[in-house]
């Protein structure tokens, strides 16, 4: 049976992951290892007067004063209006969010380290907290970084002739939208274990990261150690979602202490640290004006986007990626010509913004999709009809949109048509009317998006980032026993890359994936890759493995031709063997000849051997675009404000599906997170910037009972620009649920004249809106 591209191969990694045999940072124990706990700021904003170590235990506690030689984390950007921030791994002078690290304490156990942390005395003079990004934008606000003179990491402006439209457009729809601050909640939080390896002369850092090679660069740069003296190993990683794609201040502190004390030091983030100091994503505000004709055809859009970035600019992706992406991606899959957009990336007293699965698009998709439905209501038409008419038609592909995004291929309106059919839109409208007559409130919602994946060199360079991805490299080799080893500097933290990269190698070499091992995550033994983010793994690392495997297959053919006494072009690879007609040699024979019995090979043998490293990037640098339509049917209980999802369908086109089984898993997981965004998850702060949702009793994640049985449909429009026509897709399903579900909720609530425009759509918000709209409501109980 083939285990190549397109096969539903079971995930190689699941044997250990599902049997409790994985090895996470928390599972590793080194001789003499101690544990660390951090002293964290209890205030959102303040000036540090003192941090005092407990008497007699000074050598177990380290403060900013000890880490004097550590450079602050500073992510530069070449964008013109950008203000960089300096984030010391242990705060100096000021604290800027609740949970910011002030000191690191070490002890034989975590409990003892926490006892020690309690005894560190801190004195902080409170400063006015900056909690509301819209207010923080304005002059007169308290400042996080005084030397800037404002709270703006970045402002961008994309101009278009909106003023004419304002006078001429038949339909104008204006809305404000907001999305909540969220925590990504991977099952495994952050975790780092560092020690100094005297033999290698290296600081060895086991860390739970998506980007081991980047972390190596970061540790080297900010601790001032040569990169040759740093080895970063990402062991099994229990979920990343973007949370672990940036350099963590804790990674620097733990590494520094390990180096200083000569002792292996480990810190693992607990859930409370995560919910407080990791509350760092998704919070956007939109002010949109859409212009349309009488049928709802979009003519143009005017947007103001404010991103609540928090206190610092993360390295290497900066505080700007989110707003830059939001501004660029808001027009999404739609075909219209006039666009004006202003964005603000605002500093507030909250943890530093980090891109989360979908990066900016869950926000822009929510805002755009609600606007499409609002336009449809304004012109009195079925929203999905209006949606289809506004999407880029297949005939216009490839299409360059109003923000100069290059959509390579696909049929966007067809994805809506497929969703309408699968969810039975026509039948639903009849059911909905019947249910309303019984006092039940059903609603339907659609949401369509494009997902720019595997953004290339030029895209990142245009964002002005300090590190720009180029060629991703991979190594493929045949071992002496004829099995195959793949090495990639990318990492797998649940996406199944360990299996899909093996499938790509299998496609060329025809060896079964059970005989292909994939090694990732260790900078000491893998070729360079900037890592796993931006749905780039399958396209970039998959492409690199494909290229290396192709070259290797050519070498196998040449060796085999010699052994079979024929021409290389007459050799066919199948079932892990090289065939010439009926005659064949196995990979084990070819490997044995090269490694163990070179006497069987000719004198002019190809000396490069059975090991190939290749670099790859797609033919275009602008990314390849996956797209999808989500459709949801919900029932809203207007007495309790609860939303039940009755049906949920996803139609997705991500080019060649390397492993449909894994893709389905990615869709389920992403959509589950999107439902969290849509209905449950919200970090709340009081006026002092104190987080009110610091446990999972307050920060509500959806559980199995809150999730529908997702139904899926697929198209495969191959990208003309990537190896095998693959497009990235890991993030996709998390993008659309907010739009689909809230459109459905608003459809259900239309008899009440109620429209929800903020996430999450909690019972409190829904019921509150209904009660305000119908103060004397007398619905049946």
């Amino acid at each position: 049976m083939s285990t190549g591209i397109g096969e539903r191969v079971l995930r190689k990694e699941d044997r250990r992951l599902l049997n409790g045999q994985a090895r996470f940072v928390g599972d590793i124990r080194l001789p003499r290892q101690w544990e660390a706990a951090f002293v964290r700021s209890p205030l959102a904003h303040g000036r540090i007067r003192s941090v005092t170590k407990p008497a007699g235990l000074e050598d177990r506690v380290f403060t900013a004063a000890d880490l004097a030689d550590v450079r602050p984390i500073r992510a530069e950007s070449s964008l013109p209006s950008y203000n960089p921030s300096d984030q010391y791994p242990l705060a100096r002078d000021k604290v800027r969010f609740v949970g910011e690290c002030l000191a690191i304490c070490i002890a034989p156990t975590r409990a003892e380290a926490e006892d020690l942390a309690e005894r560190v005395e801190i004195e902080i003079d409170p400063l006015p907290p900056v909690v509301d990004a819209l207010k923080a934008r304005e002059p007169g606000s308290a400042l996080l970084h005084e030397d800037w003179g404002n709270n703006l990491f970045l402002t961008t402006f994309f101009d278009g002739d909106i003023e004419t439209l304002r006078k001429t457009a038949p339909v104008i729809v204006e809305r404000e939208y907001s999305t909540a601050r969220q925590c990504m909640n991977p099952m495994e939080g952050k975790g780092t274990l560092a020690h100094w390896d005297e033999k290698a002369g290296q600081l060895v850092v086991y860390t739970s990261t998506q980007v081991p090679h980047l972390i190596r660069t970061g540790i080297s740069e900010f601790l001032g150690i040569d990169q040759g003296q740093v080895r970063v190993i990402a062991p099994d990683v229990g979920g990343g979602f973007g949370y672990k794609c940036v350099l963590q201040p804790e990674e620097l502190s733990v590494s520094w202490v390990a180096r200083r004390t000569g002792r292996p030091i480990r810190w693992t983030e607990d859930r409370r640290e995560h919910l407080v100091a990791g509350a760092n994503t998704r919070q956007h505000h939109y002010k949109l004006t859409a212009f349309a004709d009488e049928r709802g055809r979009l003519l143009g859009m005017d947007a103001e986007i404010t991103v609540d970035v928090g206190a610092y600019s993360v390295w290497p992706f900066t505080a700007c990626l989110e707003a830059a992406q939001a501004g660029g991606n808001l027009p999404g899959p739609y075909d219209f010509g006039i666009y004006r957009c202003r964005t603000w990336s605002v500093a507030t007293n909250k943890p530093a913004f980090t891109p989360y699965r979908g990066v900016a698009r869950p926000g822009v998709c929510f805002a755009m999709e609600l606007t499409i439905d609002a336009i449809a209501r304004a012109v009195g038409r079925e929203p999905s009809e209006v949606r289809k008419e506004n999407l880029v038609p297949a005939a216009k592909m490839p299409y360059t949109n109003v923000t100069k995004k290059f959509y390579d291929s696909g049929d966007y309106p067809e994805s809506v048509a497929q969703a309408e059919k699968a969810i039975d839109l026509k039948g639903f409208r009849a059911r909905q009317a019947a249910a309303r007559a019984e006092g039940r409130h059903l609603g339907i919602g659609f949401s369509t998006f494009t997902e720019q994946s595997a953004h290339g060199t030029k895209v990142f360079a245009a964002w002005g980032l300090p590190l720009v991805p180029g060629y991703d490299q991979a190594m493929v080799k045949i071992t002496p026993s004829g099995s195959v080893e793949v090495r990639s500097g990318n990492h797998s933290f649940g996406q199944g890359l360990e299996t899909t990269l093996a499938q790509v190698a299998s496609e060329w070499l025809t060896v079964g994936t059970d005989r292909i091992s994939v090694v990732m995550g260790d900078t000491g033994i893998t070729p360079y890759s900037t890592g796993a983010y931006a749905s780039r793994g399958m396209v970039m690392s998959g492409g690199a493995v494909s290229k290396a495997a192709e070259v290797l297959a050519g070498r196998v053919r040449r060796h085999a031709a010699h052994l079979l006494q024929c021409k290389p072009e007459d050799i066919r690879l199948a079932e892990g063997k090289a065939w010439h007609g009926e005659a064949h040699v196995g990979f084990e024979d070819i490997a044995r000849a090269w490694y163990l019995r070179p006497d069987q090979l000719p004198d002019d043998v190809e000396t490069a051997g059975l090991e190939v490293t290749e670099g790859y990037k797609p033919d275009i640098d602008t990314g390849v675009f996956t797209y999808a339509t989500h459709a949801a049917i919900v029932e809203v209980d207007p007495d309790t404000g609860r939303v039940a999802i009755e049906d949920y369908f996803i139609f997705e086109d991500c080019g060649r599906r390397v492993n449909p089984l894994i893709l389905e898993g990615q869709a389920y997981g992403g959509a589950a997170q999107g439902i969290g965004t849509a209905l449950f998850e919200e970090v709340l702060y009081d006026a002092n910037g104190q987080p009110l949702t610091s446990t999972l009793a307050d920060y509500i994640l959806p559980g199995p009972a809150e999730l529908p049985s997702f139904r899926l449909g697929h198209a495969e429009t191959l990208s003309p620009y990537t190896r095998h026509g693959i497009k990235g897709v890991g993030e996709g399903a998390a993008i659309a649920p907010g739009g689909a579900i809230v459109n459905a909720v608003n459809d259900a609530l239309s008899p009440f004249g109620v429209e929800l425009n903020s996430l999450p759509a909690t019972p409190e918000r829904i019921l509150g809106a209904i009660l305000r709209a119908t103060p004397e409501t007398e619905a049946a109980g």
């Binding site: 156990t109 975590r110 409990a111 926490e114 006892d115 309690e118 607990d270 859930r271 409370r272 007495d639 309790t640 404000g641 609860r642 449950f680 446990t695 009793a697 509500i700 959806p702 559980g703 009972a705 809150e706 909690t762 019972p763 409190e764 019921l767 509150g768 009660l771 409501t777 007398e778 619905a779 109980g781």
Partner: protein
């Protein structure tokens, strides 16, 4: 999230256990399933010098039945009740309430007594057992016991009538007649979550006992004889406006959404109890 150091005791004599908890100026606490206390210890919101594990005390995991009462040992877990191990004072209600608490892993350890003594306003047992007219049996350091009716047991959020040297040893629930009806409705964000609103309703036509209780009101459960009488008299729940007016008179400061949810929970609980299904 690790607790501050504490000493763990596991006595096998109830009066001794009560003396231990009474002797530490409030710094020594009982622990049962640890499902509420554990998180508070880990967050260092409470830092007792010692914990007295009461789950090994004689009789605390017993289930007894008399002609008039069902008696549940304080350390009986939600899971055992959910699984039907406990005699029902009224058909099926205890199983129903137990099965709606948290999720199975919590129910495997969490106890009915721990839930009452923790006195979280949003918890299920305090409201359900108030509606059933139950009482808490408390044992003091001298070995003497007293019975505290549920209506006097919870004084406010996280406050009970137990003295420091008293341990809740059992819950006594009067048996209801075979024709008795009950309804219990919990509104919460997701399955097994603490409630945003709870209403319980119990009506026993033979004994003419009828109780309507609201939970998750921010304090002790709210008992409404007015609404109970209305339902008993008319056989239908009061309309929302009437329920809201009654809640308004309670003096609790509740938001509009909360009041609405409580009123809806009440209507549903009553409708459930009085329906023929």
């Amino acid at each position: 999230m690790k607790p501050a150091p504490f000493e763990l005791h596991r006595p096998s004599d109830t009066a001794l256990a009560a003396r231990m908890t009474g002797g530490g100026d409030g710094t020594i606490k009982p622990v049962a399933g640890g499902q509420s206390l554990g998180p508070m210890l880990n967050l260092r919101l409470t830092r007792p010098a010692g914990l007295v594990d009461i789950t090994a005390l004689p009789g605390l995991t017993d289930l007894r039945e008399t002609a008039t009462h069902v008696e549940i040992g304080a350390a009986v877990t939600h899971a055992r009740i959910e699984d039907g191990a406990c005699p029902e004072p009224i058909a099926g209600m205890l199983r129903h309430v137990a099965g709606g608490i948290a999720y199975r892993a919590v129910r495997n350890r969490g106890t009915i007594g721990g839930s009452l003594c923790h006195a979280d306003p949003a918890a299920d047992w305090i409201t359900a057992l108030t509606a059933l007219g139950a009482s808490v049996v408390a044992t003091g350091g001298t070995g003497t016991t007293r019975e505290i009716p549920m209506t006097e047991f919870m004084l406010g959020a996280y406050r009970t009538a137990l003295r420091p040297d008293e341990i809740a040893t059992a819950i006594r629930i009067p048996r209801h007649s075979p024709g008795a009806r009950w309804g219990y409705h919990k509104i919460c964000r997701k399955v097994g979550e603490f409630a945003d609103a709870i209403a319980a309703f119990v009506a026993d036509p033979q004994t003419r006992v009828c109780r309507a209780v609201f939970g998750s009101t921010g304090g002790a459960p709210l008992v409404s004889p007015v609404l109970a009488a209305h339902a008993a008299r008319t056989g239908t729940p009061a309309d929302l406006a009437m329920v809201k007016a009654e809640l308004g008179r309670s003096g609790l400061s509740l938001g509009a959404v909360k009041i609405h949810q409580l009123a809806v929970a009440h209507r549903r609980a009553v409708a459930e109890a009085l329906s023929d299904g």
